[in-house]
Symmetry: C2
Subunit: 297 residues, 2 copies
């Protein structure tokens, strides 16, 4: 890191150097890459649940050594944010088809104990059947964790001029080997027209930096998006049964749905195929595909 010699370009740089201008934050891109995969099958009849998976990398150095973090890296001067995001994706996986959306930009001063870092977070959704995670070539080990977000407590008090709300979430990221957890408390306050949201991590086991916050934010965004867009299909394989689709909705929304109503609601977004599942221990079910042009019917 230290450098005693002075190169020509460095000389050039020093000529126009103004110390004040470098007292500025650096920018990283952090990636929230989600997929869906079947959980374990309890018996020959019962269908497996669909689990939501998030990719994390193990940190090799301090701070937060041996804890798990979101994949990410610095944005270079010659690449746009989207390019940096795609670069991150390519570094970790072989993704070709991916849904990518900018989530939020995190800018608290003490986010990173070393220096001032501003992180632009991106949500990426992929179909697990089209995906393999690269391994080995990067020093960091990357692994999938099953993500669950449960609301523990919710409290809302109305005040003279607004309200004070507190939601307590339990975030769990589980693996064959590892279980990471975090208690995340979201404080929402409204005084007149001023609305403030403050998110605290009251306890984080094994999740580096403020990444538990970011993951909770992403999961909440995903919950919202799923109910008013068709993003869910970016998580599905080319063909799927309606119950599989329903189960993905259910894990993301963390809520049971009524079959008949669910099917009516999504019927205009899917297309029948002539294929059926077999040997499932129960009546075969028809396979469907996403109907690209559902929005104009």
């Amino acid at each position: 890191m230290m450098n005693n010699e002075t190169s020509a370009s460095e000389q050039q740089f020093l000529k126009t150097y103004n110390p004040e201008q470098y007292k500025r934050p650096s920018v990283t891109v952090d990636m929230l890459l989600f997929t869906v995969a079947r959980g374990e099958q309890k018996n020959y009849r019962k269908l497996p649940d669909m689990e939501l998976k998030l990719l994390l990398v193990k940190r090799g150095k301090h701070p937060f050594k041996n804890q798990w973090a979101l994949p990410g890296g610095f944005v270079q001067v010659d690449e746009s944010l989207e390019e940096a995001a795609y670069r991150e994706l390519k570094e970790e996986t072989n993704v070709e088809e991916v849904y990518l959306e900018q989530l939020y930009t995190w800018g608290a001063v003490e986010r990173d104990p070393r220096t001032r870092i501003i992180s632009v977070s991106y949500l990426a959704l992929v179909d697990h059947t089209k995906l393999t995670v690269k391994s080995g070539d990067d020093a960091a080990e990357a692994e999938w964790f099953t993500a669950t977000l449960k609301i523990q407590e919710e409290e809302k008090k109305m005040t003279e001029e607004g309200f004070v709300q507190r939601e307590t979430f339990l975030l769990t990221l589980r693996n064959d080997e590892t279980t990471l957890t975090a208690d995340v408390i979201v404080h929402r306050t409204k005084i007149g027209k001023v609305e403030t949201t403050k998110t605290d991590i009251s306890l984080s086991k094994g999740i580096a930096f403020d990444h538990a916050k970011i993951i909770v934010y992403a999961l909440e965004r995903l919950r919202n998006k799923v109910s008013y867009t068709d993003v869910i299909f970016t998580l599905m394989p080319d063909t799927f049964t309606l119950t599989e689709l329903q189960k993905v909705y259910e894990t993301i929304l963390d809520k049971k749905l009524i079959k008949a109503n669910f099917r009516r609601k999504i019927s205009h977004m899917v297309l029948e195929t002539n294929e059926f599942t077999t040997e499932a221990g129960h009546r075969p079910s028809q396979l469907f595909t996403f109907k690209n042009d559902w929005s104009d019917d």
Copy 2:
């Protein structure tokens, strides 16, 4: 700017200086501050329209000298993004009660012709009765412009694997002295699971940088937000008539609403007062206030 002397802290800095690490983007915060104000009254009976106003500052230096830009500035190392946003607001106005929300982070490489800049944009909404814009003390002149966004053309073609969509917007920012316009074209493409949005400014008269894009983005976000939240009330004075409220909805949504239906829909979000308007050239109308606790009924 140039500096020939070398201070102690600078010496210290140079010891650990690594030129590569400074090839990094700088971060600014850009502010989209909106209010609502009554337009001109056509005759003694007719109610004035409600106009959506945006605050812009005139650029004093190159690039884009004499063009109008969003108020904004660099994020310092010792302040969070929100702090930087509030600082910007305070620099331009006397706002106390303001709704503030992070919009989007803009990161194209050539956004600023001078250096690489990443801008985090914030949406701010204020009630104009509580607001005055500071003037004089800053070199830049700040002024309010009436913002209108009209869809000129819309085209959507379905393809094998997705669609190609093109929307053409005409953005107009009007003042007593100045009229700024921009043609903004939003290309939305979907190929399989990859959805891309590319926004181009085909013609920008008097609006600096890529700020026309950002303003269009903000107006679209405002349109969405208004239809599923209660943000609209952050733009309203303490008391208002239902027709005033309806007119604000109509200018933001750029769409006429049916009175009876509108009133039913928002009835649970407002509270009657005992006051009425007078001397309006027609039947007096009751004044209402925002009902803070509408969400739990």
